[in-house]
Subunit: 250 residues, 2 copies
DNA sequence: CGCTAGTTTGATCCGGGTCAATGCTGGTGG
DNA sequence: CCACCAGCATTGACCCGGATCAAACTAGCG
C-alpha cells in the first residue's frame, strides 16, 4: 500500500476562493491556524515567500501522511483535523507517541528519516513543504529558525507530560490526565469549551496511555458514574475540571 | 535549600593544567566529549569565542544543577559524570524523564523556565553558559544553531524511546530495554563494553521505568538467573544482547 | 434490513504493588 | 582493627487492579 494513498493534492492557491466552507483550502493570508503555528514568526512578505514552496494537502481519515523510517523528503504544518503519531514496537504493538493538532509542525527528525508514522484520525489538511527548500528558507530567516526550535522544545515538554501520564499506576489517573490534556490542546484551537472532542477511538486512547481498550471504556464510564464527566458520541463533557485534576494527581 | 548547593565553580581555564587526572578540568581544546557534543559543529576559532563565555562547574553527587520552574538563566553541556532529569507529579511522585550523559546538552526549554530538575548521580562536570550570551552566539553561527536543533530532535527521539519502554506491560521487557538503552548510550562515551555501568540506584531505575524498587530488583535477578546478564556492583554484564533484545520486544 | 466495525460489559487470572523483614556495604568513630 | 550505623538492596507474603478472553450491544451505512 502506497504511503500517500487516498491523499488529494492541491496547489496552495488552487482551491482558494476565499470561502471558509467545508472543503475550502485557505491561502496563507486566511490561514485559520497561523497565530498558533510556526508561521506566526513571519511577516507578510516572508509569508508570501514561504507560501511559494507550500502545497496544501487533504488527508482522508485513516490515510497515512508519513511513515516511520522513510526518507524525510517533506515537512508539514497541520491546518485542520487531527493526526495520530505512532511507532510500532518490535513486539508488534503500537504506541501512540502523540496527536498532531491544527497548528502543529511535523517531520523534522534528527536524522534523515521520520521517527514515527502519522495518519489522519479525521479528515485533515496540512501544508506540505519540500524539506530542502524549507530548510533553506529557515536558514535565511533567523526568527523562523527560532520558532522551529521553540516548536521542538514544546514537543519535548509534551513528551515529558505524556511520560508522566504513562507512568501513572492507576487507570483513572491516566484517563483524567488525558482528558484534561485534550481539553487544553483543543482550547488552543477552538477556545475553551465545555465539551472536549475525542475524535480518536478507544483503541487509540489505549495505545496512547498504555491501557487496554476494555480498561479505557470501563474507566471512562466509572468517571461518568461519579459525575465528573458526561460521555457523548466522539467526546466528553467535563463538569468539574478541579475535581478531575485531583484524580489526575493520583 | 539553595539550588546550587555544594557546587564548585571554576573559570574554564583556571584548573586547566593539561592534566587529565581525576579532578582536572580540561579546556576546550582538550575537551573529551567535544565530538559528541554540540561543540562538534564549531571550528577552532568559534570554539575559542564560545569558550570565553563558558565556565566549568563540578557538581557533587546528589547536588542539584537546575530546578524545574526556575528561570532558565544558564544552559549546560555535560562533560563528565551523569545527571538524572526528573519532574515531580502533583501527586508527589518522581518521574525521571531522562539521564544526561557526557556530551548531552541541557537547559533550553520552550519558555523561560526549566522543564525539569537535574541533579548529579555521581560526581559530574558541566560547561555552564549564560543563557543570553549563549543564544546570541547561536544566533551569529548558523551551523551551531543547526546543531542545537539536531540535539533537540535527538531528545525527542529519546523521549519516544522512553515512552515505548514505559508502555511495555511486562517488567522484564522494560528492564531489558533499559539495559540495552544504557549500553548504547555509554557506548557513545566509552566505546562498546561488556559491562554496562549503572551508577544510579534502584529507586532511580524504578522512577524511570514506572516500576517499584522491589520489582526492579526481582526482575534484574530473574534475568541474571536465566543467564542473560550478570549483576555486579553499580552495573551489569550483558552476555547475550540478542536474547536480551528479544526480551525487550515482549 | 442486515452487515461490520467499534464499544460496552462480565468473568477470570496473573503480574506487579505494597508492606515488612532481612541482608549487605561502605563510612565513622572508638 | 573492629563494632556500629545508615542507606540501599534483596526477598517473602499477600492482595488488588488491570489484562485477557469472550459475549452482547450499538451505530453507521450500503
Amino acid at each position: 500500500m502506497s504511503v500517500h494513498a487516498s491523499i488529494e493534492r492541491h496547489a496552495a492557491g488552487a482551491a482558494a476562493k476565499s470561502r471558509t466552507g467545508p472543503g475550502a483550502l485557505a491561502r496563507c493570508p486566511d490561514c485559520p491556524v497561523r497565530p498558533l503555528s510556526i508561521c506566526a514568526a513571519l511577516d507578510c512578505q516572508e509569508r508570501m515567500e514561504l507560501e511559494r514552496i507550500a502545497r496544501q494537502m487533504r488527508i482522508l481519515p485513516r490515510a497515512m501522511l508519513l511513515m516511520q523510517d522513510m526518507r524525510s523528503d517533506a515537512v508539514f504544518n497541520v491546518t485542520a483535523g487531527l493526526l495520530r503519531l505512532y511507532r510500532l514496537s518490535p513486539g508488534g504493538q503500537r504506541q501512540i507517541v502523540g496527536f498532531a493538532f491544527p497548528g502543529d509542525f511535523l517531520g523534522l527528525p534528527a536524522d534523515e528519516r521520520y521517527g514515527f508514522s502519522a495518519e489522519a484520525v479525521i479528515a485533515t489538511t496540512v501544508c506540505r513543504f519540500p524539506r530542502r527548500a524549507f530548510l533553506a528558507f529557515a536558514d535565511r530567516h533567523g526568527r523562523f529558525s527560532q520558532a522551529l526550535h521553540d516548536a521542538a522544545a514544546r514537543t519535548i515538554t509534551l513528551a515529558h507530560d505524556q511520560m508522566m501520564q504513562l507512568s501513572q499506576r492507576r487507570a483513572d489517573a491516566k484517563i483524567a490526565a488525558f482528558l484534561l490534556a485534550m481539553r487544553t490542546r483543543w482550547a488552543r484551537v477552538q477556545g475553551a469549551s465545555f465539551t472536549v472532542p475525542l475524535p480518536m477511538g478507544r483503541q487509540d486512547i489505549g495505545d496512547y496511555l498504555g491501557l487496554s481498550i476494555a480498561t479505557v471504556s470501563r474507566t471512562l464510564h466509572r468517571l461518568a458514574r461519579e459525575g465528573l464527566i458526561h460521555i457523548v458520541p466522539k467526546g466528553v463533557h467535563i463538569f468539574d475540571p478541579q475535581h478531575l485534576k485531583q484524580r489526575a494527581a493520583g
